[in-house]
Amino acid sequence: MRAASRADHTGVLFPTGGEFADMTEHAGWFAGLDPGDTEGAAERVREGSADGTADWPALAVDEGFADDEAEYYERLHEATMAAASAGVHERERADDKQLIHAVRAMDDCERTANELAERVAEWAGTRFDDAGTGVDYARDLAEREADPADPSEARLIALAERTAALADEADELRAYVEETTPSVAPNLAAMAGPVLAARLISLSGGLDALAKQPSSTVQVLGAEDALFAHLRGSAPSPKHGVIFTHEYVRGTRPDKRGSAARALAGKLTIAARVDHYSGERKPDLDAELDERIATVRGTAEEGSGNGSDGSTGSDGGDDS
């Protein structure tokens, strides 16, 4: 085998068939590549692999891929830049990544619209007797006052218009999230609702990352501050993170919320894994969750039925 004679030189060999194949008997990214083929080079950098390293620059010059090391590095720079750039674009274009941006933007728009609405209300209070509060009032004001009385009123109206537009965008983003999440994560979206599903994906950084989390982590996603306070030893462990917004947690009486959160997180984790690894919709999962929660709540009702914690129950009712 001619391959054997090159073993000491490259350290990396692939078995080859042809008599004249000794020019490409290594796994280097440039093996057999046309020096002008940037696209092919980027592809090699991204997809290739080798069992071990070798003196690639020397090898490339030997084989005539480059005239000298300077030219090799020039081509390597071009290839790695193109490969990394393509890789970044591909990963950032992935649907779950788009969803993450959308749900974060939705939260930003809602929060900012609310802040601006407060400013509008405060300002309007100094000018109109019937001034109200909230985003709804900002919308009213934006539509109503077509003919401002003076420059400062003109600014106030303009601010109300911006606020209304931002609130509209938040609504549009919510609609986009509700429409997109089921295609990205059908089971998770069905079980958690599209917005909460998108938040969970956002908090873990992607559907792939969420699918790899243990359910104990999913249970407290969004409660990181409380979790780390607990790990430092200065606080009790948090019972739930963002999954608190789910009816199955919030709607369960306080003394059973920990159990409900644990049960919900367990099923959400399974849903995320099915979505990531198979992508098939499995309605059975929803039914299993419904059943599990009914059990949790059933025991809760029995508990308060004995009259031992009736006051806790009524407190919980006031919360919601």
């Binding site: 990396v12 796994a27 280097g28 990214w29 090699r44 950098v45 991204r46 290739g48 692999s49 080798a50 069992d51 071990g52 390293t53 070798a54 003196d55 690639w56 620059p57 590095y73 020039e74 390597l76 720079h77 790695t80 830049m81 490969a83 990394a84 750039s85 890789g87 970044v88 990963r91 950032e92 780390f228 790990l231």
Partner: protein, 209 residues
């Protein structure tokens, strides 16, 4: 105080004397002519140099940088070193790393997982130094897996982040375990906590066994 690598200088900036390299500014750092300040509070390798650790770097060497992130430190390394391979697995920071690599012909960005050296062994040549700053669990395992790239007399410049391994354990115990794991592959030449620049980080200089 040991010598700084050629290409790294102490220069007077507003607020005192600081490490600096010569190159295109990358992250809004203060500049003085062609020089740009290297902030040890934002860079583990910068802190190792600032604290006088003997990194063995002389300038011009071939470097494999694991955990290049957005290129804050990697850009300084590329300013004084030779061919610099920057490995980073997260897509978002690589967007910034690309900006750092654009004007630096010797900085090669690789969107790869440092835990899987076989996915970039077809690109990375044997190197004189490995700089490692990866914030994942199993930092010693990453250093071990990449040892094949390091020349016999090369240097591993490793920053171990205790909190990446286990937030609940005493950092000193985490460091002991990591060093013990390194032992089979590397001989540790120097170790030092990177405080006050970085809390709960250990700087390690090692060479292959």
């Amino acid at each position: 105080m040991t010598d700084l690598p050629a290409g790294v200088e102490r220069r007077a900036f507003e607020g005192g004397e600081r490490l600096a390299t010569r190159g295109e500014p990358h992250y809004g750092e203060p500049t003085d002519g062609e020089y740009r300040a290297w902030n040890p509070d934002r860079s583990k390798l910068g802190a190792m140099l600032e604290l006088g650790m003997d990194t063995g770097l002389v300038g011009g060497e071939t470097v494999l940088y694991l955990g290049a992130a957005s290129g804050t430190t990697a850009s300084h390394v590329a300013d004084f070193a030779g061919p610099t391979y920057g490995v980073e697995f997260a897509a978002r920071p690589v967007r910034d790393l690309l900006d750092a690599a654009e004007p630096r012909d010797n900085l090669f960005p690789l969107l790869k997982d440092a835990r899987k050296p076989e996915t970039y062994a077809h690109v990375v040549e044997p190197v004189d130094a490995i700089v490692q700053d990866v914030a994942t669990r199993g930092q010693a395992a990453v250093a071990t897996a990449n040892a094949e790239f390091l020349r016999e007399d090369g240097r591993l410049l490793l920053a171990i982040k205790a909190r990446s391994e286990d937030v609940t354990r005493d950092p000193a115990d985490v460091f002991d375990d990591a060093l013990a794991e390194l032992e089979s592959t590397y001989e540790v030449l120097e170790r030092r906590r990177l405080a006050p620049h970085h809390d709960d980080h250990l700087g390690v200089v090692a060479t292959p066994r």
